[in-house]
Structure formats: structure tokens, C-alpha cells
Amino acid sequence: MGKSFNAVISCLGAALACGAFLCAAPAGANPMPFDMAQAAPGDFVRVGACDEATAANLDGIANIGFIVGHDGVAVIDPGGSLADGNRLRATIQADTTLPIRYVIMTHAHPDHVFGGAAFLPDHPVYVGHWRLPAALANRATYDHARLAGLLGAARTGMPVAPTLLVHDTLALDLGGRILRLRAFPPAHTDTDLAVLDTGSGTLWAGDLLFVGRVPALDGSVTGWLRALAVLGAMPASRAIPGHGPAIVPWPAGAADEKRYLEALVKDIRADLAAGEPIDKIAATAGTSERQLWALFDSYNGHNVIVATKELQWE
């Protein structure tokens, strides 16, 4: 409990720090590099603002970053907008002259993929879950309109569809540094991909891991719990969450999220068995977790409805 509370504080702290930093950033042709956290040797993370997308944060609300191998660089999530992606690219260019070989997308949500076009000049291979091309095609127009309304069309950009698709697992070599990618059945979304950097024993969990910020469910709650079990068995000592601090111990860092998802399942099953209507379930399930997560009220009701759609057929 004390740990969860600390996570909320650190999430909010990161939002304040990033907010001030981004406000000072110019929007022009020379994107300002990010102040990166080194999560592990060769693993660099930009901690996202613990907030919704705004013009000030350029939708830079997710943890994004890159891995530097001997021969090249892999980007893991190109950012929440073209402007966000341009800043990540400038950060990489300031750090290394190695080529950007891969842009790996952990799932279809806009805060992770809209920076994709920033890396087109580098001609990387775009990598994603086998369902990602369809998911992006389905969502991109809608997501673009919503983001452009906040940031303006020029800063928003569009995601780039992956051409290297992961059906189950895939290994990428950055030169003596192997990345093991794994695609999951529906969990956080239906396009989740996790990356294990075997060079440092670091798991890039994408949005399969939220720390401090309340998880957002857009796939399958039982699938997400199964994915956590798979991730927990991976040979990693630390993990980089899609939202939260730059690094958490692994698998201990998943404890809060697992508890939250299990609470949702337990509450919803009990309400369904009692014949409660869905609006009542959405107002009450999971609320024992309210004090433990940032942005709880913005997402919990949605999570409950998505989970209820699934659990009502058990």
C-alpha cells in the first residue's frame, strides 16, 4: 500500500517536471532533445507526463525510448505525436551516430505510435504485432482528428504501419545485443508486444505494465492477467512500464497492476452473479483501488465496462 502511494506521487512528480520542461521546448525545426533516464546500460527512457494529451505535452504521455547495440539502435515506441517523435529522434542523434535500424511499436494507442513518421528519414524497419496494421488503419483517422484538435495537424503526424510483423516471437539483433519480441493475445489491447533486451536483462513491457497511473483496459482483462504471468516468467530483473517511472524491479513491479486487475474481475463477477445492472457495476467495481492510482476516475469506469463485456459471457 505504501509502495503504491509512492508510485502515485512519483507519477505526479514526473508530470509536473515534464510539463515545465515541455512548456519551454520550441516547436520549430530544431527539436529539443529529451532528458533521458538510463534504465540500464544501453536502455534509455523518456518518462511520459502523467496526464492526458495536451498541447503543452505534445501527447508525450507514454514512456518511450531506445536501445543502443553495437551496430545500431532500436526505438521502442516512437512517441505520441510527430513533434514528440522528432524530439526522440534528436535525442538519439545527440547520443550516438549509430543508425536507427528498428522502430518497434508496443501497441496501437496514439500516445505510443503517432511519432512514427519522425523516423522515416532513417529508413528503419517498423515492427509490430501482426494485428497492428489493421488496428492502425482502423483508428488512425479518428485518433488523428482528436489529437490534431489539441496539437494542430502539423505537430500531430500519422503513425507508420509496421512491415515486420510478430505473430508469436521474433529475435532482432542490434549487434551482439539480442532483443526478443513477443506478441500477445488480447490483453491491454489486441496489439500488445513486449521486448526483452537480453543485453541488460530489461523488459520493455509497453502498456502491459502501468505503474502509478491507473491501467487502461482496451482488450481482455483475463488475457491481461495471463500476459502478466508470461511476462513474470521472463528472465528480466527490471522492467520499463509504458506509464510510470523509468524502471521498476521485475517481476515485483507488476504487483499493483495485478492486484488492480484481479480486484476488477472479482468485483464484476460478484456483481454479475447478483444481477446488478452494468451502470451500477461501472460505478462501484474496482473502487477499493481509487486512492492507489493517478487518473483513477478517468479510466476505471471504462475499464469496468470493457471487462464486463467479457465476463458477462462466463
Partner: protein, 271 residues
């Protein structure tokens, strides 16, 4: 059924305009929303006058949707009002008519719940047709976005494997002869034509629940005409006065001409 005859063309025109401008209407004025309702209502009800009357019927919906693809709405109608039909209209959806219910002799049509998709900020109207043929309405403004055009992570294969499965939950009447409440849940993806198949990357053609009829011993409780604005896995909570102990028969037909039937026993319920 004048409604079903002219709806498709109307729906297509609206869809084209709305998809091009997903948020243009989000902040529009009350006057613009009233004008929109005027046009929509005229098209659906053939220009018949509609009187707003919040004393006769009420519509409950969350002011801000938690999930725009599944917005629970609840309609209550004054017990002494003689209602023969009820239409749910989501003014700014690509297909505004979500459902039309026609009540039969066993209905107790004074409370009804269902779940709808809401594509953008809109008024939702409930319009009741009374026994004398007059139309009364009530409305709610709801903030939601993307319920039709930004689908979530539904696995289409799984949804199709379960298609037509039904669940019903019956609550006991307060006293013998009093109305009972039934929660009906129908497994159906209700594809609205805006979702892409991840394998073929083609848009999945619209396939949605078109008709639901619920009867007891051959006597009608209600018949519903649905459309793409009903949520995936359509859910209807309704009240009825059981005529006897015959099971409830549910018949569902979809736009792909598939039909599904299931019977639910009411006789074993304690009274």
C-alpha cells in the same frame, strides 16, 4: 414500416458527413442541436408532431460516457401512460435510430434499459407513441466520442463463434400477477461496417441485429427493430406480465438473414 424503408439512404448520407468531421459538432449550440433534432425527427416520424413531455417519460444516461461503444440508457414511462411503441434516437450517430420497440399485450412498458454506441457529443431522444397515436419525447445530452468509428480490442473470431448465444435473468414478481423484470443479453458483434478485419484488412461488412421478438405462449411482449447504433452484444431489460407458466421465447434475426431462437423457463421462479 416507413422507417425501415427510408432509413438506409438517410444513414449513408449522415455517415459520410459525420465521418469526415468527427468533432465538428462537439461544441455546437443548443439551437443547432434543436435544428438537428427537427430534421432527424421529421425523417424518422414522417413529419408527425412530437411533444416534449418529461412528465410522461424520462431518459437516464451518464452525462459523460465511460465507454462510448457501450452507453447504458434507461427509460421510464409514467405508469398510467398507455404506450404502444418506443423509439431511441441518437441524433448525431451515423444511423440515428438505435432501436424501435413495439409492445404487445403482455408488456408492462414502463421501464426499459438498453446499451448503445455514441459516436460524438449528441442528444439522445426517447420517443413514445401513445395509444391515441400521439408522440411524446424526452432527451438527454451526452458527451461521448468514437463509439462507432474507434472500435476496441474485440476479437472478431471469438465474437462470431459465440453469435446467437443468449442469456436471460428473471427477477421474481413482487406479488403473484405483478410484473416481472427480465435482463436479456444477446451475443452478436453488431458489426457496423466501420471495423477492419486484422487478417484480410478489409472492412468487415455491417452485420447487426435487425429484429428481436419476445413472446410467452405465442403472445407478444415486445418486438424490436435494431440497427448499428446498438452496442455489440445487445442487451435489453424489460418488464412484462406473465400470462401463465409458458417459457419466454426469444427470436433474433440479423441483417445477414441468420436467425437465432432460445426459450427461457419462467415457471420455476418462486413467486
Amino acid at each position: 414500416m416507413g422507417m425501415s424503408r427510408h432509413l438506409p439512404a438517410y444513414a449513408v448520407i449522415t455517415a459520410a458527413v459525420l465521418l469526415a468531421l468527427p468533432h465538428a459538432r462537439a461544441e455546437e449550440s443548443e439551437a443547432a442541436r434543436a435544428a438537428r433534432w427537427h430534421d432527424v425527427a421529421a425523417a424518422i416520424f414522417n413529419g408527425k408532431p412530437i411533444t416534449e413531455n418529461n412528465a410522461v417519460l424520462q431518459l437516464d444516461a451518464p452525462p459523460r460516457a465511460m465507454d462510448s461503444a457501450l452507453v447504458p440508457i434507461s427509460i421510464t414511462i409514467r405508469p398510467d401512460a398507455k404506450v404502444v411503441a418506443l423509439t431511441v434516437v441518437i441524433d448525431d450517430n451515423p444511423a440515428p435510430v438505435a432501436a424501435k420497440f413495439q409492445f404487445g399485450p403482455l408488456a408492462d412498458p414502463h421501464a426499459l434499459k438498453t446499451r448503445v454506441r455514441v459516436d460524438q457529443y449528441t442528444l439522445i431522444h426517447a420517443v413514445a407513441e401513445l395509444q391515441d397515436g400521439s408522440l411524446v419525447s424526452t432527451s438527454r445530452f451526452i458527451k461521448a466520442a468514437g463509439g462507432c468509428s474507434a472500435p476496441g480490442g474485440t476479437d472478431q473470431t471469438e465474437a462470431l463463434a459465440r453469435i446467437g448465444r443468449m442469456k436471460m435473468r428473471l427477477t421474481s414478481p413482487a406479488a403473484p400477477g405483478e410484473p416481472m423484470t427480465a435482463d436479456l443479453l444477446i451475443s452478436h458483434p453488431n458489426f457496423n461496417g466501420m471495423q477492419m478485419n486484422p487478417v484480410t484488412r478489409l472492412y468487415t461488412p455491417a452485420r447487426y441485429v435487425q429484429n428481436v421478438s419476445v413472446t410467452e405462449g405465442g403472445r407478444t411482449i415486445f418486438m424490436m427493430q435494431g440497427d448499428i447504433s446498438l452496442s455489440e452484444d445487445p442487451a435489453i431489460t424489460f418488464d412484462f406480465r406473465p400470462a401463465g407458466t409458458a417459457p419466454l421465447d426469444v427470436q433474433v434475426n440479423d441483417s445477414a438473414k441468420a436467425s437465432f431462437h432460445q426459450s427461457f423457463s419462467i415457471s420455476s421462479r418462486p413467486s
